[in-house]
């Protein structure tokens, strides 16, 4: 599966059936609809996919950190748009 298709699939799943909020989903949909802008940034797209797959609102809450939260996703989006 192409990276952007995979990104769309996981974003839709987390947005429509998980806890991904609108304010975080919107900039990801922007990435998905402009793949030409993000050519050569596979590493960051892949990182975003993994973070969405492991998205947990309470990732920072426990003693150990085995999930990704909105701060991680926001930071990856920031790197993608640099």
């Amino acid at each position: 599966m192409d990276l952007f298709t995979e990104l769309e699939k996981v974003t839709r799943h987390e947005h429509e059936h998980g806890e991904l909020p609108d304010w975080l989903a919107e900039p990801i949909y922007t990435v998905i609809s402009n793949p030409h802008h993000y050519q050569g940034k596979d590493y960051l797209i892949e990182m975003l996919i993994d973070q969405l797959n492991e998205y947990d609102v309470y990732a920072e809450a426990g003693c150990c950190r085995w999930a990704s939260d909105h701060e991680d996703i926001k930071r990856t989006l920031g790197k993608l748009n640099q």
Binding site: Y43, D50, E54, W66, R75
Partner: protein, 381 residues
């Protein structure tokens, strides 16, 4: 231009791996243990990401991955890290096969100096561990069994599924040195009975100087390892020291490529093997890598009468090959792996290991065969 055919020793670097590493050398050079600003936080995210990419290949949680300097260190941690537990519980018996890499044999030998007993398991003529002999060597006080996934000299895949079955009723810890097979043969190391797996970056088109020990929980418990060095709580305290983020990110990218491009890579190396086998057949060699049992990245052959060093030197302008493991080839000692397979002295001293990968350029196998034929005529064999 000499074609590099020594990928079992070390692989070329995948271009995307070099690109990812450059990012963490030139731009995002933060310390993953300082997530108090953007540099540190992004470095920590990169390490988490790499951990996840490696974990996917073994089907474990990402917190199972402990980064090390390579497979040698990972093997040392898996073996020597159990010393205290073995001593406390009076389980001082360890087992490995006769064809393990020095990075496993030597730490196990070190254990014998502190009262442990070591049993070496023989292999058959194909270079595969004899599981029946392993079963018979198991004792109530067996602490650890260490077996490799793929042999580094022959490319022969070891019977991990059968070993897993045999160990299902035994409490011994099981360590698999997967330095040669990780990312190339995907299925066998996902077996849940395997407690610890060692991997290396530079064998899977990643950087040198990084690897990992992957630990798997059994009955909710990780293997009771003790750290070998002190100085921080990185990697659950098992491997203190600042994490080399560029190397770790590179290893993660290499693992990602191994998973995503597995089929296309396999097709390429298999086609190289088909051509190599067809060409080398003219020399009527002794085959030390039976095709059905080996990774398609290798052929190890013996050409009795032509000393390995002579052949390597004669081939040097055409292909770069080796005879044994890179860690022992400088000693010019005949291969202990081939000896364990029952090969004669004439066969062990004339072994050649050809190993390639998906990045290998076209090889003029006709020229390789012609050089070896000429050598054979000179030696009269």
């Amino acid at each position: 231009m000499t074609v590099y055919l020594d990928c079992a020793s070390t692989t070329p670097t995948e271009p995307s791996v070099a690109e990812v590493m450059r990012r963490f050398i030139d731009v995002d050079y933060g310390n993953a243990a300082s997530p108090i600003h953007d540099y540190g936080t992004f470095a920590r995210m990169a390490v988490d990401h790499a951990r996840g990419q490696i974990a996917k290949l073994v089907k474990v949680r990402r917190d199972a991955v402990i980064f090390t300097s390579g497979a040698t260190e990972a093997n040392n941690l898996a073996i020597l890290g159990l010393r205290q537990y073995g001593t406390q519980t009076a389980r001082r018996h360890v087992i490995c096969s006769a064809i393990e890499h020095k990075a496993v044999l030597e730490p196990l030998e070190a254990l014998t100096q502190s009262g442990f007993e070591m049993t070496l398991i023989p292999v058959d003529s194909d270079g595969r561990i004899i599981v029946d002999k392993l079963q018979r060597a198991m004792r109530p006080d067996t602490l650890l069994v260490s077996t490799m996934q793929v042999n580094n000299e022959t490319g022969v895949k070891q019977p991990l599924t059968e070993i897993a079955e045999m160990l299902s009723e035994h409490h011994a810890y099981w360590h698999v040195d997967a330095a040669q097979g990780f990312g190339k043969e995907l299925e066998s190391i996902t077996h849940p009975r395997i407690d610890m797996i060692s991997i290396s970056g530079h064998k899977i088109y990643g950087p040198k100087g990084v690897g990992a020990l992957i630990t798997r929980k059994r009955n909710g418990q990780s293997p009771p390892l003790k750290q070998l060095i002190y100085g921080g709580d990185q990697e659950r305290g098992l491997r203190p020291g600042t994490l080399p983020v560029p190397l770790i990110a590179g290893l993660g990218e290499a693992a990602r490529c191994a998973l995503r491009r597995h089929e296309e890579r396999l097709a390429k190396v298999t086609s190289i093997r088909t051509r190599a086998l067809a060409a080398l057949a003219e020399l009527n060699p002794v085959i030390n890598s039976p095709a059905a049992q080996s990774l398609p990245h290798y052929i190890n052959i013996s050409l009795p009468g032509i000393p390995s060093a002579t052949a390597i030197e004669a081939l040097a302008g055409t292909v770069a090959v080796s005879s044994t493991s890179a860690c022992t080839s400088h000693t010019m000692a005949p291969s202990y792996v081939l000896k364990a397979m029952g090969r004669s002295e004439a066969e062990t001293t004339s072994a050649l290991r050809f190993s390639w990968c998906h990045l290998t350029e076209d090889v003029d196998w006709g020229a390789v065969v012609a050089i070896l034929q000429k050598l054979r005529q000179h030696t009269g064999h």
